[in-house]
């Protein structure tokens, strides 16, 4: 048997060898005498070399031996990758005789966290199996091990000792050693080919900040732990381990604490699952991060929070009725109802219920689409739309046109077919047109909802399917309230104020509101796409309003003109968008730019870091800044010497910031967090800040004196 083949001896073969040896010994009826080296004794550890064979059988190429460590209570020895600190045992065999090579096998480690530091290794007892290859088969062997072993409890004691074991030629098996060795051979992780895996992939991001692995096995996992190795110098934090596919899919994400490029190697991963299962795989590197089998609901919306959000959505939906997008539709519906005053109550009620149904159907449809997008991993977030110049241009144009309409510059003429149908509602007995009136109103509401419903929708998009459903249901109910109220009591129609001068006043007020909103959007657009694009969009919108309000144009020119001028602002917003470099960063002397790595660095120096993720389009962020952050006593607290204020500007899309937010399971802003020696992982503040909570968080983060920390 060649040496190469010997080298390839797998664990199974070793077990087989041990077992056959046991059988052999039983046949021989040999009274086994323990074949064990003289023991090394210290209060922390007792060490010995053990061997399965009592002698080297004729033609035997290998000996199965082991380094047996019996650790005292509280003492630990380390795995081949010990974690952040610690050292694996090393054995020098050079003074052995008749030994070609010794291969040391590593039983699966356990994870222990000592003094806040992650370590992998062994407690109580461990036997490192040794495959000893002989130079001359069948000849006596003399094993001489110089062992360098680090063991730690609350002291670390390096142990250097020598163990020797000589085996003469002969036959015989030490049953005690054999069973002890096989116990630990069984704990050596299986090789990939024996582990019955369907796939194993690993992803390391470009900045080497996260390692994600995903392993699909035939059999489900119970309580797995994962030990990746990326070479010395690379240290990983505690993993976030999740199971999916009835436990057969193992997903784990590690923060990379430190990375040493020179000494790094492609990841190999050891997975343990209880005492009985362990394997080591070399996962395939993939370019995209494997998605977790489920999202942890860190925010964990409670019933009260959900009720609050539902109320906000409901009120928001009601307010939407007064928005210029919806008002024309609603007023058409109501005025048609006025005409029907003499008609059968049941018909009126049915008509309004159908309209409400139309609203709800649209809202649920929207919820379903968003839910599917979420399922397919499309990044949907309300805020993200505001990073898109096309969306902003569309919003701006719509708002500008509607405000012009409210100021009476022109009348919105719905396509004549639709108008006829809407006004014909009462004459038919089918409720189809009522249904579509409601649906159309809801469609019209969507562009207007953005500035007013950000919170509720952002919540829905970040949440589970049920959150999504609840928010959109209440939004729809709010929007359908006028219809539902009339349906509940058709007589109310008679109390509707008669059209008159008051409507002109209302229109002016609403128009002003819209102008303000449009101006704000213009400002946001300046931040996102640059001044050039924003001015182009504004000019084109003005042209659009002009075309619409000028009655003199022939219809042949007018409609294509409107169509072209409706599209042009959207095109211009992207075509003329300026790169981010021209965008003056919002950082000032007090605020430094966001740098995730810098946070840990500052905290390790004992400083407190206040992180503010903001954007031009985030009104709540502006409110937080104006009402809390830029006011005493918070202002002074933030400006004290040991506090670093860090601002992340999310006005434009920014991968690093998105990932940072996602780390907290947040998909929208405002987001504020405080880091410090007392809170190295950050204290996340609520979206709406108050001076008291900010000051409390700063204090909590600062706390934890070294003495107090040591006592924990």
């Amino acid at each position: 048997m060649g040496t190469g083949m010997l080298m390839a001896r797998s664990k199974c073969q070793v077990i087989l060898l041990v077992l056959t040896s046991i059988v052999f010994s039983v046949l021989q009826n040999h009274a086994a005498q323990a074949e064990v080296s003289a023991k090394f004794n210290s209060p922390a550890v007792t060490a010995a070399l053990i061997s399965v064979q009592n002698g080297v059988a004729p033609d035997a190429n290998t000996i199965s031996a082991g380094l047996d460590l019996d650790l005292g209570e509280g003492w630990k020895a380390y795995w081949r990758s010990p974690g952040e600190v610690g050292l694996p045992p090393e054995i020098d065999w050079s003074r052995s005789q008749n030994v070609a090579n010794v291969k040391m096998l590593w039983p699966a480690p356990t994870r222990f966290t000592a003094f806040g530091i992650e370590n992998f290794g062994y407690s109580d007892e461990v036997v490192f199996p040794l495959e000893v290859q002989l130079e001359q088969p069948g000849k006596p062997v003399s094993l001489f091990a110089r062992v360098s072993l680090l063991i730690c409890s609350n002291v670390c004691v390096p142990q250097n000792f020598e163990l020797s074991l000589t085996l003469p030629s002969g036959i015989g098996i030490d049953n005690k050693s054999a069973s002890r060795l096989s116990e630990f051979i069984a704990r050596v992780p299986l090789e990939e080919k024996d582990a019955q895996l369907e796939s194993a992939i690993a992803h390391v991001d470009d900045g080497f900040s996260e390692l994600t692995i995903s392993v699909k096995a035939a059999a489900p996992f119970q309580a797995p732990d994962v030990f990746p190795e990326l070479g010395t110098g690379t240290a990983l934090g505690k993993p976030d381990i999740r199971l999916g596919d009835r436990g057969t899919l193992l997903w784990a994400r590690f923060t990379v604490l430190s990375y040493d490029e020179e000494r790094s190697r492609p990841p190999i991963v050891t997975v343990t699952d209880g005492a009985g299962r362990a394997f080591t795989v070399t996962p395939d590197r993939v370019e995209t991060q494997p998605a977790p089998p489920f999202r942890l609901n860190v925010l964990g919306p409670g019933i009260d929070q959900l009720a609050w959000i539902a109320l906000v959505a409901f009120l928001g939906g009601m307010i939407l009725n007064a928005m210029p997008c919806v008002l024309p539709v609603l007023s058409i519906k109501l005025s048609s109802a006025l005409k029907q005053q003499g008609r059968d109550k049941q018909v009126v009620r049915g008509g309004f219920l159908a309209a409400a149904a139309g609203v709800m159907v649209f809202m649920w449809g929207l919820a379903a689409v968003l839910f599917l997008l979420q399922r397919f991993g499309v990044m949907v977030g309300w805020g993200l739309q505001f990073q898109n110049p096309v969306f902003l241009a569309l919003m701006f144009t719509v708002l500008a046109v509607f405000s012009a309409n409210l100021f009476g510059l022109f009348e919105i003429a719905l396509p004549s077919g639709l108008q006829t149908r809407l006004s014909n509602t009462g004459r038919r007995h089918g409720y189809t047109s009522d249904f579509f009136t409601g649906l159309f109103g809801a469609v019209m509401a969507t562009p207007c909802s953005a500035p007013f419903l950000g919170t509720a929708i952002a919540f829905a998009l970040a949440g589970r399917g049920t959150d999504l459903l609840i928010v959109f249901t209440f939004l729809g109910l709010g929007l359908a309230t006028p219809y539902l109220v009339v349906a509940a009591s058709p007589r109310l129609v008679t109390f509707l104020p008669k059209p008159g001068r008051w409507m002109v006043g209302l229109k002016l007020v609403l128009g002003l509101l819209l102008v303000v909103t449009a101006l704000w959007l213009f400002w946001v657009l300046t931040g996102v796409a640059g001044t050039r694009a924003a001015i182009a969009v504004a000019a084109l919108s003005a042209a659009l309003i002009l075309v619409q309000s000028r009655g003199g144009l022939s219809p042949r020119l007018r409609w294509p003109g409107i169509a072209v001028l409706s599209i042009l602002p959207l095109v211009a917003s992207t075509m003329l968008a300026q790169p981010a470099a021209n965008h003056v960063s919002a950082t000032t002397q007090e605020w430094t730019a966001f740098d995730r790595a810098e946070i840990a660095r500052l905290v390790s120096r004992g400083e407190v870091v206040f992180v503010d993720v903001t954007a031009d389009w985030c009104l709540t962020c502006k409110a937080n800044k104006a009402l809390v952050l830029d006011r005493e006593p918070v202002l002074q607290a933030l400006r004290s010497d040991d506090v670093t204020q860090m601002q992340a500007d999310w006005t434009r899309p920014n991968e690093a910031i998105s990932r940072y937010l996602e780390g907290f399971n947040r998909f929208g802003i405002p987001f504020n967090a405080v880091y410090g020696p007392g809170a190295p992982n950050g204290i996340v503040l609520s979206e709406i800040l108050s001076a008291a909570t900010v000051l409390q968080a700063l204090e909590d983060a600062r706390l934890a004196t070294p003495v107090a920390a040591a006592q924990n």
Binding site: V85, L150, V155, P158, P706
Partner: protein
């Protein structure tokens, strides 16, 4: 109903009793007994500590290319107190604490933080002297040199705290980053790491560990008391008091 209430009361009273006894015991925890060292004379250790229970004193994991030392044991023995506690002026009003630690030892980091906290708390009452005892291989040695170089710029504790958040790496980039983040002079840090001064300090610490027969890290010498392994804050404070009242300077 009455009996059930009685049971609850009984349990509560029992729990309260156990808690108060525990608390009282921790409060009345006796000072550990001491045992005089035969060598060096005048020093003592806590009875039953790891070094008195059969550990062999070791001088580290085998290092084949060990350089020749810049100091000899007899040099060090000649002025043991100075080697251990640095320059001590004639006024012995404070209690010195010599801390020995190694980068690869988890508990060392905790002890460094605790002692730094203690020094802050007790102010002029104590003086902490930091020794590096890199017993655990090359990286350990490099980290020790970097720590001592940082110490020369007054950033020893900060350096060790930094290791808690990101492990030491034996690369020039790491040292550059380290110097930046701790506001240190990078060039000086690098040159100090291999300076004769630093090497001599390492040798002194290593010889001290042999003289005192340390079994590993961390180790602590408070006045004339040698402490190895974990000790409660309360007992440490008691020993500091004891050293102050007994006059630790008698060994010097």
């Amino acid at each position: 109903m009455a009996s059930r209430r009685g049971v609850v009361f009984g349990i509560a009273a029992f729990a309260a009793g156990v808690m108060s006894i525990r608390y009282a015991r921790s409060f009345l925890e006796p000072l550990p007994e001491f045992q005089d060292l035969t060598d060096p004379v005048g020093f003592r250790e806590i009875s039953g500590g790891p070094s008195s229970t059969g550990f062999d004193p070791f001088v580290g994991l085998a290092d084949p290319n060990e350089r020749t030392r810049l100091r000899t044991p007899s040099d060090v023995r000649q002025n043991l107190c100075k080697a251990l506690f640095g320059e001590t002026d004639e006024n012995f009003g404070f209690v010195p604490l010599a801390s020995f630690s190694d980068y690869y030892c988890p508990y060392c980091r905790v002890q460094t933080k605790r002692l730094a906290g203690l020094a802050e708390q007790l102010g002029a009452g104590v003086k902490v002297v930091w020794h590096e005892l890199p017993l655990l291989g090359d990286t350990s040695m490099l980290a020790a040199k970097a720590a001592l170089a940082a110490k020369r710029q007054g950033a020893y504790v900060q350096f060790h705290e930094r290791l808690l958040s990101s492990p030491f790496q034996a690369t020039p980039e790491y040292l550059q980053l380290l110097a930046e983040s701790l506001d240190l002079d990078h060039a000086r840090l690098v040159s100090d790491m291999e300076s004769k001064d630093v090497l001599q300090e390492l040798d002194t610490s290593s010889i001290l560990s042999e003289i005192f027969g340390f079994i590993g890290t961390p180790a602590l010498v408070v006045g004339r008391t040698v402490i190895q392994g974990q000790i409660s804050d309360r007992n440490l404070l008691k020993i500091i008091d004891l050293e102050r009242s007994e006059g630790w300077a008698q060994v010097c």
